[in-house]
């Protein structure tokens, strides 16, 4: 059990190192001098040179990378070029919006996708199955930011039930904050729910054909009991893999949906940093997104090992 876990963790560390180097490299060859951006166009050359040396910009690239990496590991994420505040502060503020948003979206997609998938598999070929298939096809094909626009059009602009965007902040209380996140998380969740419903349906159908389900039925369990006690728990394995893969899309989707709803999350932070050429912020946010995606995928691998004893020795 230990060896495959260690192998994956080592792979994770190496991949993260490679990614951090790639992000740093791309960001440091960008046109535009951070020191010049901070001081403006009227800065005197000697002031500029002083700031460059203070920021360490005059040192060779590998040294700067090493210093940046050490900073990251010790919690010093640098200082935003445009805002002049620590990047960590901006990232934490953004994460306080994006992470709850992603969590709500995952929850909604599970609550919607799993039951739909199981229901379709249990009544294969029925109207329910056809309906779920249609929902899946439409959901997978529809851009989440467009769903966001439609939600605003119907529930905010026309019916006036919901705020059309913005975020009151957590200090305004949990209820207004969660209300502000509801429509964005639905927009983010619907395409994911469609994928989940589809995968759950296929996985459940496969398991329903297995011998142990037939044995359970032969033992006298009803169809419903066999389905929920034996088929569904076993069908969840491939579903977990998909949730891991979907996480990457969820992160990307957050950038779009945050822009639609004007949420001050990590995605908006990244877009603003891009517009303002704030390299220190861009580096950290991009690295954070990529790290989240990779870590989640390794966690999925490990969950797989924990849930499926057959894989422990195979790896």
């Amino acid at each position: 059990m230990l060896r495959p876990v260690l192998t994956r963790l080592l792979g994770l560390v190496l991949t993260l190192l490679a990614i951090s180097a790639a992000v740093f490299l791309v960001m440091s060859v960008l046109p535009g001098d951070p020191a010049a951006i901070m001081l403006g166009t009227s800065a005197r050359p000697d002031t500029l040179a002083a700031l460059r040396s203070e920021l360490g910009l005059d040192r060779p690239l590998p040294l700067r990378y090493a210093a940046w990496l050490t900073g990251l590991l010790t919690g010093d994420l640098g200082r935003s070029v445009t805002y002049g505040v620590p990047v960590a502060k901006l990232v934490l503020a953004g994460a306080a919006v994006t992470l709850p948003l992603a969590a709500m979206a995952i929850l909604i997609s599970l609550l919607l996708g799993l039951p739909l998938g199981v229901a379709a598999a249990a009544r294969r070929g029925s109207a329910v199955d056809a309906g779920v298939s249609l929902f899946a096809q439409l959901g997978i094909a529809t851009p989440n930011f467009w769903i966001g626009l439609l939600l605003i059009l119907v529930f905010a602009a026309t019916l006036g039930w919901m705020p059309s965007g913005g975020f009151p902040g957590w200090q305004a209380g949990a209820a207004p904050a969660l209300t502000a996140l509801l429509m964005p998380s639905i927009a983010l969740a619907l395409p994911q729910a469609a994928v989940l419903a589809r995968v759950t349906r296929t996985a459940t159908l496969e398991v329903l054909g297995e011998d142990f389900v037939r044995t359970a039925r032969a033992k006298g369990l009803s169809r419903r009991q066999a389905l929920w006690r034996h088929a569904v728990p076993n069908a969840l394995l491939p579903v977990i893999t998909i949730i891991g893969l979907q996480f990457t899309f969820l992160v990307a989707g957050a950038v779009l949906v945050e822009n639609v709803f004007g949420l001050p999350g990590l995605g908006r932070l990244a877009m603003q940093a891009l517009a303002q050429r704030d390299v220190t912020v861009m580096q950290v946010v991009v690295l954070l997104f990529a790290t989240l995606a990779i870590v989640v995928n390794v966690l999925v691998d490990l969950a797989y090992l924990a849930l499926d004893p057959r894989l422990r020795n195979a790896a």
């Binding site: 792979g11 190496l14 991949t15 490679a18 990614i19 790639a22 992000v23 791309v26 960001m27 060859v29 960008l30 070929g125 096809q137 439409l138 997978i140 094909a141 529809t142 851009p143 930011f145 467009w146 626009l149 439609l150 605003i152 059009l153 602009a157 491939p238 893999t241 998909i242 990457t248 899309f249 992160v251 990307a252 950038v255 779009l256 822009n259 639609v260 990244a270 877009m271 891009l274 050429r277 861009m282 991009v286 997104f289 990529a290 790290t291 995606a293 990779i294 995928n297």
Partner: protein, 286 residues
């Protein structure tokens, strides 16, 4: 002794359903590609022509689908936008599929350290959602057609590398590969003569599916202003414009969204249909 093939009730109906998907996908995709091609020759209006006096007109009152905030004809914008989105998606997926397939075959055939290195690289590339790499690249290249194509293509590479590697590994265990090796064929010859034809079906199915995903991503990049530069129309930017005038002119938001969903659904149905038709095994764990 020959085993009798048991007749399966309902098989015919499912066969029909399969062909239904292939057919629906082919018709949808075909129609939209035709519209995109037509836009190269003819559009109802010049899509970039501004008519401030005719701005924000609802459908049918001015043109079939109405006009936008600058009085541009939405149907014409939609046709050219579809062509632009499709051309970016096709270029990105072809680029990604070719590179990825090559990497996958090489990794599977050379094995060992090179295989491990290539696949870890693919893991790293796959960790960047296209929106993220497009943001990084746009800081480098400026936003535009090239930026969107490279970002989407880059994300597509690992998908094909993993697929090609898994399939190549399976094929390399076959007897005819042993025979080809015995006949003195070198690795490159084996790859071209035996591996490529045998994985082509799976690659084709994946290309179709990725095209749908690429359209979806391109529209997102366009929405954020990271794809093709104005004034060239793009489905994503039409939706970004529509957001500003959501209550005033809701039709601006409907047509581009529906078009995106139809293109993506078309490619997905086509891919599913092709998969059943070509009998490509779908192996999530590979």
């Amino acid at each position: 002794m020959s085993a009798a093939v048991p007749s399966m009730p309902g098989t015919r109906r499912f066969a029909l359903l399969r062909h239904g998907r292939l057919l629906t996908g082919a018709i949808l995709t075909g129609a939209l590609v035709a519209v995109a091609l037509l836009s190269l020759l003819w559009t109802p209006e010049v899509p970039t022509r501004l008519r401030i006096l005719a701005k924000l007109k609802p459908p049918l009152s001015e043109g079939l689908l109405g006009t936008d905030q600058l009085g541009r004809d939405i149907l014409s914008l939609l046709m050219v936008g579809t062509a632009n989105s499709l051309s970016i998606a096709v270029a990105a997926v072809v680029l990604g599929a070719a590179t990825g397939t090559l990497i996958g075959i090489v990794a599977a055939m050379r094995r060992g350290a090179l295989d491990a290195l290539l696949m870890r690289m693919m893991d790293a590339v796959f960790a960047f959602p296209p929106i993220l790499s497009a943001m990084m690249l746009s800081a480098l290249l400026g936003s535009g057609r090239l930026n969107a194509t490279v970002a989407i293509g880059l994300f597509t590479v690992p998908v094909f590398a993993r697929l090609a590697r898994a399939d190549t590994k399976r094929i390399l265990r076959r007897d005819y590969i042993l025979a080809a090796r015995g006949a003195g064929k070198n690795a490159a010859r084996i790859a071209v003569d035996h591996v490529l034809p045998n994985i082509a079906g799976a690659i084709l199915v994946q290309v179709t599916i990725q095209l749908g995903l690429a359209i979806l991503t391109e529209s997102g990049l366009g929405f954020l202003g990271l794809s093709i530069s104005p004034p060239a129309p793009s489905l994503g930017r039409m939706l970004a414009d529509a957001q500003t005038y959501l209550t005033l002119a809701p039709w601006m938001a409907l047509a581009p969204g529906i078009t995106i969903a139809l293109i993506v659904a078309g490619f997905n149905l086509l891919g599913d249909g092709l998969r059943d038709r070509l009998d490509v095994r779908r192996d999530v764990s590979a």
